[in-house]
Symmetry: C2
Subunit: 338 residues, 2 copies
DNA sequence: CTGAAAGCGCTTACAG
DNA sequence: CTGAAAGCGCTTACAG
């Protein structure tokens, strides 16, 4: 592997000059530059980013820590973040925390220690303000994309949970559903609470809210299936289900089909998140789509501002991100055929 | 951020000694060690891996390059590789090549240049021997996990495609299917060819092979759906479908349901790969499971041997990996109810 | 058992 | 416009 010294020797200049052409910094004679470029090419030289990082304190790489790569939401987020990062000239490194805040914190340390200029964390449930201060201590530019916590201190992808839930319920009403059930997420999660509130308030207005139409899930497919089974047993009259996320909606569909309910004519179904998975089913399932792409992009952009010192150098950026509209995506599961 | 120098000063020793306790190398007096440990703790010192890598030429990290994070097969592979890597004390970094061999090669270069000790590449379709020699030139320990290419030079996860396909067809026969169709993958892909061959040879034996029972797909869900539509139009008598991968099986189920075919009683269905996605459907879809976990583990272990110089220092390890048995996973899509 | 010193491959004031 | 030299934070022979 050729080093900057080899290039300098071949070109008959000093390493400083070579460094200048690599970084396009300072002045360098055109002929000298050509000679250096030629030598670099000849030696197939590529700078060692490790050494560069040491000298520079900068590696042009950022890390994204996700809670669970096998949850289909995250690959889609990864894609968005990766696109944005590469547009800014950053390489994206990934870490998978398996839903453990301890692992996530460890990854922040690892990445910080190793090479990255900043880190993006998608908060898993357990993130709380203690963790936030832990991260603060690590002193690396960090942006937490947060679905899980109601904390204004954090750059928060609130994605208008309340509004979206309202849209979902009103959509079910608009296609004629009279008995709308809800499979909610865990009490401790902010989006779950907000989505429930959207459901509750909308039905309350018309006096149709019934607490036994609400079943508890944990955002997993299995819980959506089980919740739907319970709902159907208790309330065979149910003709619409709003699941608080897409994975539970998938489970719900499975339960409905297993029970022989026709979707959407007997029971209409809608999820929340907008992952592509829902297009795989027959019928395809409607959803309230979070603008994952925009969120990923905004998170990267905020992080990079922080890295470049446009914001406080270290710690967690505190910016509310409630600016992205969710969108109703109507598919066959809410298009009545009769 | 504290450096080794700060620790040395606080403990009243030289940096060399501190380095020794960090690396547990050479002898150091117990008292001295305690004093140093104490100082490290007090300063919250963690070694800078960048500097360490520079001095060491080693960072205890490896990279995995996957073709497409949004294909559910890969998150499962990532999980397996990550587990194995962490068991060996390595951190895993991920890169996503979007099915482009150019991107993959670039990632190898980036990772090499930046920090990793070795790289694992899951070959996307386009990998050929030219790419292999490109990688060879980069001179970094590399293991290619290869589904796509019939090349003995490469550590190849052949996963017994032929055997698995035979198992799938025989399974369909054993539950009474008489008209078994196949949705095959692209001609240029080795596993697609092998799976087709397994299908072909098995039916040929009993004289049941009919070429019009074979439809072409490209391993995507959409293609599985379209292929099934064509099959059903041409041959309403079909009562069993073997899809060459799970994604196409998912698409096939969607088509069958759309056409009102009862699965499995009218048409039984089986996929190939063993990703968890297939459990989400109603009915759950049977499959031939590749031992993703074992493959990930073996790939990591081979790579680490290579890093440690137990194998040729650089380039691509040439080891055939055809040692892992595939496994039939029978689910509702092949359990006749009457 | 411990320290001084060179070196890993780069960058960046500072002189010239 | 260019080079010598110090420095980034570590490791590792080499002496002692």
């Amino acid at each position: 592997m050729a080093t900057i010294r080899d290039v300098a020797k071949l070109a008959g200049v000093s390493v400083a000059t070579v460094s200048r052409v690599i970084n396009q910094s300072g002045y360098v004679n055109k002929q000298t530059e050509d000679k250096i470029l030629e030598s670099m090419h000849q030696l197939q030289y590529t700078p060692n980013t490790l050494a560069r990082g040491l000298a520079n304190k900068k590696t042009d790489s950022i890390a994204l820590i996700i809670p669970n790569i096998t949850n289909p939401f995250f690959p889609e987020l990864v894609q968005a973040v990766e696109d944005a990062a590469s547009r800014y000239g950053y390489t994206l490194l990934l870490g998978n925390s398996y839903n453990s805040e301890e692992n996530a914190l460890q990854y922040v340390q690892i990445f910080k220690n190793r090479f990255v200029d900043g880190v993006l964390i998608f908060a898993s449930h357990q993130f709380d303000s203690k963790d936030v201060s832990e991260i603060d201590k690590i002193e690396i530019p960090t942006v937490v994309i947060d679905k899980a916590l109601d904390n204004n201190q954090i750059f928060s992808a609130k994605n208008r949970n309340f509004t979206g839930a309202t849209m979902a319920v009103e959509h079910l009403q608009s296609i004629g559903c009279k008995h709308i059930a809800h499979i909610r997420g865990p009490e401790k999660l902010y989006p779950a609470r907000e989505r429930f509130r959207g459901y509750h308030d909308t039905l309350q207005k018309t006096g149709e809210f019934r607490s036994s139409y609400v079943e508890q899930g944990d955002f997993s497919m299995e819980s959506g299936l089980a919740a739907t089974m319970r709902l159907l047993d208790k309330h065979p009259e149910i003709d619409g289900i709003f699941a608080a996320n897409d994975l539970m909606a998938a489970g719900s569909l499975k339960a409905l089909q297993r029970k022989g309910k026709k979707v959407p004519d007997e029971v209409a179904l809608i999820g929340y998140d907008g992952i592509h998975l829902l297009e795989m089913f027959e019928p395809e399932i409607s959803t309230i789509a979070i603008p994952i792409y925009d969120i990923g992009n905004a998170a990267v952009s905020v992080l990079i501002d922080q890295i470049n010192g446009k914001e406080s150098r270290f710690g967690i950026h505190s910016n509310i991100m409630d600016e992205f509209d969710v969108q109703l995506i109507q598919r066959a599961s809410t298009i009545k055929t009769k």
